[in-house]
């Protein structure tokens, strides 16, 4: 497993190093900052539960997909662009280790930034009079969403030279527009899956009703989310492995 660990370690360095770390950290805390600004603007006195709950939704529907998209697209996409992929494939290691290592590293990094955002959101929530009790639920839900997005976008980075553009198209068209028109497609929306799991895990005091509106008809459970996360990761890693076996494409 030395090679697998090495791929994960170097990919984490690749994705989370330098300016990227600053950029994604700032992006992750934007919902928390907005929450505080909006609360001040309303001259709130005490807990404005609906406002706080509503800001959890953009954290899931905007921040997590964007973070995972850019990181996932770069995990293998940067290797292709910089022509370093030969450094990986000309080794006595199975291709699945490369695909799985990339997906795992990307999941770890995007979940890390999401956890930072979740922490900031919870601190803002505490400032408004809420409790930190919502943190584990948001972290768990966002991690599931990050795993699904990361594994899918790592694959995307392996099949197109413009993963960010294609991924953005998916987020805007399928997840935002199409799922709004056809609620049955909600299963194809990772952030809804993560948010559904979060709602199930939230303490009873959290005003979940405001978020149910964001989810629509289908509210995935934690078990649904875990199955979706595991299945997506397995399928995308398998496809990515097959693509990496096509030597001429490297």
């Amino acid at each position: 497993m030395t090679a697998f660990r090495a791929i994960v370690r170097v990919t984490i360095l690749q994705l989370a190093g330098g300016k990227r770390a600053i950029g994604f950290s700032v992006l992750a805390v934007v919902p928390a900052a907005l929450l505080l600004v909006a609360a001040r603007a309303r001259e709130f006195e005490g807990l404005d539960t609906d406002l706080g709950a509503l800001l959890v939704a953009p954290f899931f529907s905007v921040i997590i997909p964007l973070t995972a998209l850019i990181l996932g697209g770069a995990a293998l996409g940067d290797e292709r662009r910089d022509k370093t992929l030969s450094f990986l494939v000309l080794r006595p290691i199975s291709r699945w280790k490369i695909a799985a290592g990339k997906a795992l590293a990307c999941s770890v990094v995007s979940s890390g930034f999401a956890a930072l955002g979740a922490l900031a959101l919870c601190l803002a929530w505490v400032v408004m009079g809420g409790s930190m009790g919502i943190l584990p639920a948001i972290v768990a839900g966002s991690t599931i969403a990050c795993v699904i997005y990361s594994s899918a976008f790592v694959l995307l980075g392996n099949v197109t030279s413009r993963p960010t553009l294609v991924g953005l198209g998916y987020i805007l068209f399928v997840e935002s527009f199409l799922t709004g028109e056809l609620p049955r497609l909600a299963w194809a929306s990772p952030w809804r899956i993560g948010l559904g799991a979060t709602l199930e895990l939230m303490p009873g005091s959290f005003p979940a009703r405001a978020l149910l509106g964001a989810l629509g008809e289908w509210v995935p459970s934690v078990s649904n989310a875990l199955i979706a996360g595991g299945a997506t990761a397995l399928v995308t890693v398998a496809i990515c492995t097959l693509l990496l076996l096509r030597t001429d494409a490297v």
Partner: protein, 306 residues
């Protein structure tokens, strides 16, 4: 002794473009220069040997195994691509360690430092590679290729971008590796560069094998193939008439204020011209071979092979 790499009837085409056409050759211990002008098919051939490309036709065996299917060949193979393909955010030490871990070889500090020392990169080993000069990057890539103690080293234009001092360092490293009994394949489009490393060459042109063997044959061909030379002087017609009596001159025609001579012996013409010009009191203002490139030599060799 069996060759380390055997290339049998290999062709490679991309759509309608034929990059390599029916090449058969072998590479054994020592340095072999893969020589040819840019676009000749060297990189495609090397990428097939490394297993990055699959031949459209024919077969390649590295230590008896198919590099496209059997990843175990990479345990003892090092590949240095032409592209600037390095992880700029890693240090050279990090890159070499990563290579060792991926290859399943010794990734201890001693092994990593040993590979870095071999390319004289120990002092700068902890700086990010993105801060390196082109030559230092090449050396970092070579160190990463050496860390798994390869029997076969495939180097695609490894001297590109390196300054003269770094070229000398890299060449001596390759020669040391070859002296240890490793098979080193070095591609280049510069004859003089290959000549400094080895006498054994495989020359390719337009995807075909133009020559295989000693570099002297190519040098000899460079002198003895028909050449065209442009000559300009204050009295071109009189000089041309005088030169026609020289045995080295095969043909001659006037062109834009001067004339072009076709010669079978470039050095003989070079010796005869000053004498003829002096005797006829004519001033020569220009003497320039029109087609003395390596490519023209390879084209000639290719014609001979046919």
């Amino acid at each position: 002794m069996n060759p380390t790499v055997e290339v049998r009837g290999v062709s490679k085409w991309f759509g309608t473009k034929v990059a390599v056409s029916d090449i058969s050759c072998s590479f054994g211990p020592g340095i072999t220069g893969l020589l040819g002008p840019n676009g000749a098919g060297k990189t495609t051939l090397l990428r097939m040997i490394a297993g990055l490309l699959r031949p459209s036709e024919g077969s390649i065996r590295v230590s008896g195994a198919d590099p496209g299917r059997d990843t175990s060949v990479y345990r003892r193979m090092g590949f240095v691509p032409e592209d600037d393909a390095v992880y700029g955010f890693l240090s050279a030490r990090g890159l070499v360690r990563y290579a060792a871990e991926l290859s399943g070889s010794d990734s201890s500090s001693e092994a990593v430092d040993g590979a870095l020392a071999r390319v004289n990169l120990l002092e700068a080993a902890d700086r990010p590679i993105e801060q390196y000069s082109k030559g230092m990057r090449q050396r970092a890539k070579v160190a990463a290729a050496l860390v798994n103690d390869p029997l076969l080293l495939v180097l695609d234009e490894p001297l590109n971008g390196a300054d003269p001092v770094q070229r000398a360092v890299l060449i001596s490293i390759f020669q040391e590796l070859a002296a240890e009994g490793r098979t080193v394949i070095v591609s280049s489009h510069v004859l003089a560069e290959v000549e400094r490393m080895t006498d054994r060459v495989i020359a390719v042109l337009d995807g075909k094998l133009a020559a295989a063997g000693g570099i002297r044959a190519i040098r000899h061909a460079m002198i003895h193939i028909p050449h065209r030379v442009r000559i300009e002087s204050d009295e071109p017609r009189r000089l041309a008439t005088a030169l026609l009596a020289t045995p080295a001159v095969v043909g001659l025609h006037f062109k834009e204020g001067g004339f072009e001579v076709e010669t079978s012996d470039l050095s003989a013409l070079g010796t005869a011209l000053p004498r003829v010009a002096y005797e006829a009191s004519i001033r020569v203002t220009r003497f320039e071979p029109v087609d003395a490139s390596l490519e023209s030599v390879f084209r000639h060799l290719l014609r001979i092979r046919r």
